[in-house]
Amino acid sequence: MQEATFLILTALATGSQHGYGIITDVSQISGGRVRLRAGTLYTALDRLRTDELIAVDREEIVDNRLRRYYRLTPEGSEKLAAEAARLQANAGAALARLNLARPDLAGGTT
């Protein structure tokens, strides 16, 4: 799973969000490192909808502009949980090995 996809699914994990909300949330989750552009976001959202990982929750008109909210589907939640577990396992393994080789890098004790 690409990082942008992972972050979009993560942004939707706590509830439905509209496009601009996802962009700001992804920026916040990644500590400002990932700033999604509109083109990238909607290409990803379209693919995620095709794969049925997200779905349209509702639509609103705000200031005469369409605002569409997306939510995670049960399949999307499962996929995100599986990916998070995989990343956590990988990160754990990496940190454990770093701890053995270079305790200073992994924040371990000498």
């Binding site: 496009g19 552009r37 083109g39 379209d46 693919r47 909808r49 095709t50 705000v62 502009r65």
Partner: protein
Amino acid sequence: MTDSPGLEQGYRRLLGWYPRAFRREHEDEILAVLMASAPEGQRRPRPAESANLLWSALKMRLRGPGAASQSWPWSDSLALFSLVAPLFLLLVDALQVALPYRLPKVTRFPLVAQALARHPEIGGLSLLTVPLFDVTVGCGVIVAVLVLLGLRWIPLAVMAASVVYWVAVGQSIPWIPYPLQLLTTGVYLLGTAALIASPGPRRGRQLVNWRYGVVLLVVAAAVQVSTLMYDAMRPPWVFLAPSTGRMAVYLAGSVVLTVAAVVLTVVWKLNRYFLLLLAVTFYPYALQLAFTSTGGSTDLLGNPTPAHLAALFLPPVLFACGTVLAAVAPRPSRLLPS
């Protein structure tokens, strides 16, 4: 956030590069996000934004219509068709081999009787000795596996390679039964359009169910029975050994099976556009059958004139082209009223 009309107009121009179905669904929504992200005072799209939108539009076009196109009424039917058409063609091929037309006994002409004793059937296992048939079915198996895996462009490439091979070995084509040639052409034409213009076989996998399988099985049986009828009424067999009784049985059988397929489609409320796609696929096949059964002096495909070829293939070609254009052609971007 800004409300600059010039900026909005610029964004709309860029969004005009996206596929039509995607724009229909998302244009106003993306525009709202772009306008919300723009700092006060911005008058036109920035280069990085423009590049991102153009690059995303290109990716969307290469990927084909996605979820956004699912609001297009044809979209799901095409996705289903892109998945099941290659499988259906394999089923028809298998029936052609398994259930050949067995020629009636000829007693009046000893030379003919001898020849028939050596080749007592049309189609059947003898088809497997025709390299063109083997290669075509081989490509068909590959295409079927690829669409089952949810792929779109690689099966298209395999289908194109198969067509190139057909053209390259043109002199072997008469060894393939005409009905099978016509049906294969119909499936390839509409299948190609479906793969290009729909969300693809992955979407088809989400929509398909056992009812479609049953209907296609009944349609394949109707095809095989009507092919037997076609073989029975073709010269010279129809003159050397007329078999009116068998033809009547084949005719009744194919009509009953066709009606059964239509009734099942209606009763099970299957996708009506899907039925129309099947009808267009069958058009050349049905025309050839009708021409022969109403006393046409020769096959439309057996000795084709440009008019014959146009009558057989122009309608499905136009339909396929129209389908692709409707799905992917750009639409003039909507400009703001001045």
